[in-house]
C-alpha cells in the first residue's frame, strides 16, 4: 500500500475561502427555498383549481421537477438557455434549477397537507361563526403547517446537498470552491474530507435549528 502523506496546512490556510463557499451554499439554498415556497403555493393552488389549463400547467411543472435529475435541470438552465442567448451565471443556473425542483416537490407537500385536513374541520369552524378567512387562519392553516413542517425541513436539507452540483458548472459554492482550491494545490483528499465534514455540520445545524423552532412554535405537539 502506498503511503499517502496528508498535508493539512494548505487546507487550513484556505479555510476562509471554504467558509466563503459555505456561505454561498447556504445563500443559494435559503433563497431557492423561499422562492420555491412561493412558487409551490401557486402551483398547489393551480393544481387544485377548477381551471383545466391552470391545473395542467401546474401538473407539468410538478411532474417535470419530480421525474428528472436535478443535474439535468441545472444543465438545462446553464447550457439549454445559453443556446437561446440567455446566459445565466453558474449561481443563477443552480438557483433556477433548485427553485424549479423545490417548487414542484413542495407543491405536492402542500397539496397533501391541505387535503389531509378533513373538510368537517372547515365546516365546524364556519358553523361556530367564523368567516372563511378566520376558518383558514385559525383552524386549517395551523394544522396544515404542522404536517408540512417536517417535509419542508427535509426539502431544505435536500437543497443544501444538491446545491453541491454547482461544482459541475463552476459555481463558487462550497463544493465549487473546494474543487478550485484542490486543483491548484493537488491536496484533493484533504480538501474533500473537509468539505464533506462542513456539509455534514451544516446539515446537522439546520436540523437542530429546525428542531428548536418546531419546539417553540408547536409547543411539543409535533406529530
Amino acid at each position: 500500500m502506498d503511503s499517502y502523506n496528508f498535508h493539512w496546512n494548505v487546507v487550513w490556510d484556505a479555510f476562509p475561502q471554504l467558509l466563503g463557499g459555505a456561505f454561498t451554499t447556504l445563500h443559494v439554498s435559503v433563497l431557492s427555498m423561499l422562492v420555491g415556497i412561493v412558487a409551490a403555493v401557486f402551483l398547489a393552488l393551480g393544481k387544485m383549481s377548477n381551471s383545466k389549463i391552470l391545473s395542467l400547467l401546474s401538473s407539468i411543472w410538478i411532474e417535470l421537477s419530480r421525474n428528472t435529475p436535478a443535474l439535468f435541470l441545472i444543465y438545462m438552465a446553464y447550457f439549454g438557455l445559453g443556446a437561446y442567448g440567455i446566459h445565466l451565471s453558474p449561481y443563477l443556473s443552480v438557483f433556477a434549477a433548485l427553485v424549479f425542483v423545490n417548487g414542484g416537490y413542495l407543491a405536492e407537500t402542500f397539496r397533501g397537507g391541505f387535503q389531509s385536513i378533513p373538510p368537517t374541520q372547515y365546516n365546524a369552524a364556519r358553523s361556530l361563526g367564523m368567516n372563511r378567512v378566520q376558518a383558514y387562519r385559525h383552524i386549517i392553516l395551523p394544522q396544515m403547517f404542522r404536517r408540512i413542517y417536517h417535509p419542508m425541513t427535509n426539502q431544505f436539507i435536500w437543497s443544501i446537498l444538491m446545491s453541491s452540483l454547482g461544482i459541475l458548472v463552476g459555481m463558487n459554492d462550497l463544493s465549487g470552491e473546494t474543487q478550485r482550491l484542490q486543483s491548484s494545490s493537488f491536496r484533493t483528499l484533504e480538501f474533500f474530507i473537509v468539505a464533506a465534514a462542513m456539509y455534514y455540520v451544516i446539515a446537522k445545524l439546520v436540523l437542530f435549528a429546525a428542531h428548536l423552532v418546531s419546539k417553540r412554535v408547536f409547543k411539543g405537539e409535533l406529530s
Binding site: 500500500m1 502506498d2 499517502y4 411532474e63 417535470l64 419530480r66 421525474n67 428528472t68 435529475p69 436535478a70 443535474l71 439535468f72 444543465y75 438545462m76 447550457f79 439549454g80 445559453g82 443556446a83 437561446y84 436539507i157 446537498l161 444538491m162 453541491s164 452540483l165 461544482i167 459541475l168 463544493s175 484533493t188 483528499l189 474533500f192 474530507i193 468539505a195 464533506a196 456539509y199 455534514y200 446539515a203 446537522k204
Partner: protein, 216 residues
C-alpha cells in the same frame, strides 16, 4: 472551417451506451441497496440501543454528505491508497451505499409496522424466531413498504446521473460530450430529459396507485 459537427444517426449508438449504462448502474445500486437495506433495516428494528446508535450515525453521514462529494472523495481515496478502481465499480459501491442509507429507513418502518401481537401469535404456534421473521415479519412488513421502495428507487435512477463526475459514461455525460461537439444543447438535453421522464413518471404513477389501493 466548421469546428462543430451536427449530431446524426451515427451518434445513436453512443447515446444508447449512455442509456444502458444509466440503467445498468441504477439496477445494481437498487439491487445491492435493497439487500443491504433489508438486513440493516431489520437490525435497526430489532436491535438494541447501541446497535441503533452506531448504525444511525453511519447512515446519517451517508445521508448528510452530498453524493457528489462522496463519489469524488471515495475515488480519490482509493486512488491515493494505491487501489484505483474503474469508475463503474467505484460508482456502484458509493451509489449502492447511498441507496442503502435510504432503504434502511424504508425497511425499518416496514418491520415496525408488523403488529407485535402477530409475531407473538406466530411464536406461540411453535415457530422459531427466524421462522417468524421469514414467514411473518418479512411478508407482512414488506407489503407496506412498496410505495416508499419505489420512491427510493426513482431517486436512485435520477441520482445515478452524478456518477458522471468520476468518469462513468452514463446518459448525462454522453449528452454533455455530444453537446460540446455539436453545440446543439437544447435538442440533446430535451431528449435526455425525456428519457429520464419516461422511466420515472410511469413508475411514480404506479407507486401512487399502489399507495391509494393500500390506504383504501
Amino acid at each position: 472551417m466548421n469546428l462543430f459537427t451536427p449530431i446524426s444517426w451515427n451518434d445513436a449508438g453512443f447515446i444508447l451506451t449512455g442509456v444502458l449504462n444509466t440503467v445498468y448502474i441504477s439496477v445494481i445500486a437498487i439491487f445491492f441497496g435493497t439487500i443491504l437495506g433489508l438486513v440493516l433495516g431489520f437490525a435497526r428494528a430489532e436491535g438494541n440501543k447501541i446497535v441503533n446508535m452506531c448504525l444511525g450515525g453511519v447512515l446519517d453521514i451517508l445521508k448528510s454528505v452530498p453524493l457528489i462529494i462522496q463519489l469524488i472523495l471515495f475515488s480519490t481515496f482509493i486512488g491515493a491508497m494505491g487501489y484505483p478502481l474503474e469508475p463503474f465499480v467505484a460508482g456502484s459501491i458509493i451509489l449502492s451505499l447511498y441507496t442503502m442509507a435510504f432503504m434502511v429507513e424504508v425497511f425499518r418502518s416496514g418491520f415496525d409496522n408488523v403488529p407485535a401481537a402477530t409475531k407473538k401469535a406466530a411464536r406461540s404456534l411453535g415457530m422459531s424466531y427466524w421462522q417468524t421473521v421469514r414467514h411473518i415479519s418479512i411478508p407482512i412488513g414488506m407489503r407496506s413498504v412498496l410505495p416508499s421502495w419505489i420512491g427510493v428507487g426513482l431517486s436512485v435512477i435520477k441520482d445515478s446521473a452524478l456518477v458522471s463526475v468520476i468518469g462513468y459514461m452514463e446518459l448525462l455525460r454522453t449528452a454533455e460530450q455530444l453537446i460540446s461537439r455539436s453545440q446543439q444543447a437544447v435538442m440533446i438535453l430535451v431528449g435526455v430529459g425525456l428519457f429520464y421522464f419516461l422511466i420515472s413518471y410511469p413508475l411514480s404513477l404506479y407507486g401512487k396507485y399502489i399507495e391509494r389501493k393500500m390506504t383504501r
